[in-house]
Subunit: 391 residues, 2 copies
Amino acid sequence: MAIIVKKFGGTSLGSIELIRNIARRIALEAGKGDSLVLVVSAMAKTTDELINLAYQISEHPSRRELDMLLTAGERISMSLLSLALQEEGYSSISFTGSQSGIITDERHGNARILNVNAFRIKEELDKGKIVIVAGFQGVSQSKEITTLGRGGSDTSAVALACYLQAKKCEIYTDVDGVYTADPKIVSNAKLLPAIDYSQMLALSYNGSKVIHPRAVEFAYKYSIPVEIKSSFTFAPGTMLIQEKSFKEENMEERHITAIAHKENLLSYIIPETEETIDLLKIWNWEIFKYLAIENQLELIIEEKYDKEIQYLLSQKEIPILKTENGIGYVTLVGLGINLDPSFLADTLKLCQPFHIKRIQHSDKTIEIMLPSSEVKDCVQILHSAFIGCEK
Amino acid sequence: MAIIVKKFGGTSLGSIELIRNIARRIALEAGKGDSLVLVVSAMAKTTDELINLAYQISEHPSRRELDMLLTAGERISMSLLSLALQEEGYSSISFTGSQSGIITDERHGNARILNVNAFRIKEELDKGKIVIVAGFQGVSQSKEITTLGRGGSDTSAVALACYLQAKKCEIYTDVDGVYTADPKIVSNAKLLPAIDYSQMLALSYNGSKVIHPRAVEFAYKYSIPVEIKSSFTFAPGTMLIQEKSFKEENMEERHITAIAHKENLLSYIIPETEETIDLLKIWNWEIFKYLAIENQLELIIEEKYDKEIQYLLSQKEIPILKTENGIGYVTLVGLGINLDPSFLADTLKLCQPFHIKRIQHSDKTIEIMLPSSEVKDCVQILHSAFIGCEK
C-alpha cells in the first residue's frame, strides 16, 4: 500500500472551521487505499503568540525553554485534527516529533535532522490508521525537545516521506502552487505545473514563500516527489521534478522561469575579525545574502531579526560599521540565463526607472538589489517583459 | 539496439598515433552490439593555428569566413578517424555538422542549436556503420555554416544524444573525470564517481574544464545520461546524475562537494549606459562574472579576449573607466552550504592568508575573488580543510 505524506501549514489550520474542512477532505481521500500521514504546523499565529508570551517574561528567553513552549503549538493542532478525523468516522492517532522518531542535533531553535526512525508511524499505518505528526519539532540524542527553525514543518514532512518511501509528499499552502511571480503582485502570474528542484531551490532561497529552501534541498538530495498545492481548493498544484523533460521548439532556447522577491531587509556591515568568525559559528538566523569585501562583512537579513541580532552583536562587542534598512531584492531565475548576456542587457534596460544598488548573478539567477519600496513595481515590469501573460 | 554517443576532444585526437589508439579502442567496443556515434573536435591546436592564419590576413576577420575556415578543423579529424576505423576493418562514415542536421541560428562564432534533424546518422547506424560527426559546427536555416562557440563539441554530442535517444553520452577528455579539485593543483584530489547536474553546472560555470556549462545545461534540461571519462585509460569516469540518491549517515549534513577555480581574469569597469546595453546584445565572449553597481558595470572575462573586446569597446566609443588584470576566483560548491553560516565562517578563517577582494555566494556556491597568483594556494588550503584526503 502506497504512503502519501501531506503537510498542512498554519494558515490552512487557522480555525476550527478550517481544521474541520481539512478533515472532511482527508476523509474523502482516505477511502482510496493509500496510507496517509498528515504533518501539521501550529495553527496560524499560535507560534507568534507563544513567542510573545515568552518575551513578556524574559527579554532573552533560553532557547531550550522556548523550544519546550513552542512545541505546544503543533500539539494543539495535531490533536484537534485527529479529533476532527475521528468525528468523520476515521481511526487516527497523533504523534509528537519525538514520538515520530525525528532525531536532531542539540541546536535548540534551529536543529538539524540527523536521522528519522519512524517505526511507530509505520505500525499505526499498518493498523489502518491515519497518522498525524507534529511538524517543526524533534528530539535530540540526549532526549531534549528541539525545534527545526524556519521551514521546519516542510522539512519534517519531506524527511518523513523519505523514511517512509512515500510515493508523494504534498505541501498544502494558501496558494495554488508555484507561480511565475507572486500573484499578489502580478495579477496575471501563471501557475507552473512543474519546476525542477534546482530552479525551485533558487526561487525559494531568493524569497518564494511556498516552500522553505531547506525542504527543497532535502527533497532534491533524496529525490522525494513533492507537490505544492492549495489546501483550500485541493486543485492540482506544482510538481517538483528532476528536470523539464520535454523538448522546446527551439532546443537551446533560454528563458526566465519565474521571479522571486524579498522586501524589508536590513544590512549590517561589520568588521571581518576573529570575533565575526566566532559569531557566525553560533549564528541562528537566516542570512539572506552576504558579501565579504575589503575586510568587512555585509550581512543582509530580514528586519524582524534586528533586535535579537543587535543584542548578540553588542554582547560579543562587535561594532556595526554601517546599517541600512528598507532593502529589497528581485531575482530572475532561469536555466543558463547567464550564458547569454542579452538577459543582463534587458535587465539593465528594464531596471533603469529604479534605484538599483547592485546586480549580481549565479549560474541560474540575476539578483537585483534595490529599495524595498520599489520591489513590487520592479517585479511587475520584469514579469511583463520576460514572462508576459501568454505563458 | 542502443545508441552510445562518444565525444573526443582535441587533446584526445592530438596526433595520428592518438587517433589510431582511439580507433583500436572503438573497434574493441564496436562488436558489443551498441550503435556508435563519435563526435570529434579538431585535433589539438588546429583551431588556434587556423585562427592565427586568419589574423595574419586580417586584423578583424569576418565571422562568417572565420566559421568557414575553422570548420575545416573537424573535417580533418573526422575523416582521419573514419579512415583509421576502416583500417581496423570497420565500416564507418563521417558527417559534417550540416550533414548531421545540427540546425542553428545565424549567430556566427557563437551559434545556438535550434533543432537537430539527424536522420542521415540514423540511416547509417541502421546499416551497421559507425558514424563520425564533426562537433562544434552546424548550419543555419539560411544554409550558412556556423560554429557553436566554446564548448561546442560537448554541446553537439549532448544534442545528438538527445535526438537519437542514446542510452549514454560519453565525453572523453584528458583527465579521468570530475575531481574534488584540479588534480594538477591538489595531488590528493579525489575522483567523483557521480555528481548531480546542478552541482556540475555550478562547477563548470566556475572554472572546471572537463565539460562546458552549456553542455551540462543541455544534458540537465533533457535528462541525458552523461559520463565524463579519460580517452587514455578508458576507465570508469564521473556520471552526471539527477541527484545523489543515497542516504547520508547524518541526513541533513551538508558538505563541500568540490572546488572550482579560474585564473588569469581581467576586469573592465564601463559606464552603464544605453551603449553598454546595446553592446551586451551583440556580445560574443563568455562573461565569467558581472557586477552592476552605482551605474557602472564590471565585466570579468578571460585575459585572452582582451584584444578583441578592447577593439569592440573602442569601436562603440565606450570608455573603460578602470581595468585590472591578474584576477582569480576560487569557488566552493555544495548543496545547501549557505543555509549554514559555519561554511562562511570557515571560509573567512581559511582565507585570512590571502588578499581577498570579494566573497559572494549563491544557493550552492561560495565564490572567492582574489589575486590570480594566490589561486593555487587557496585551492590547496580549502581542499585540505573541507574535503581532505579520506573522501
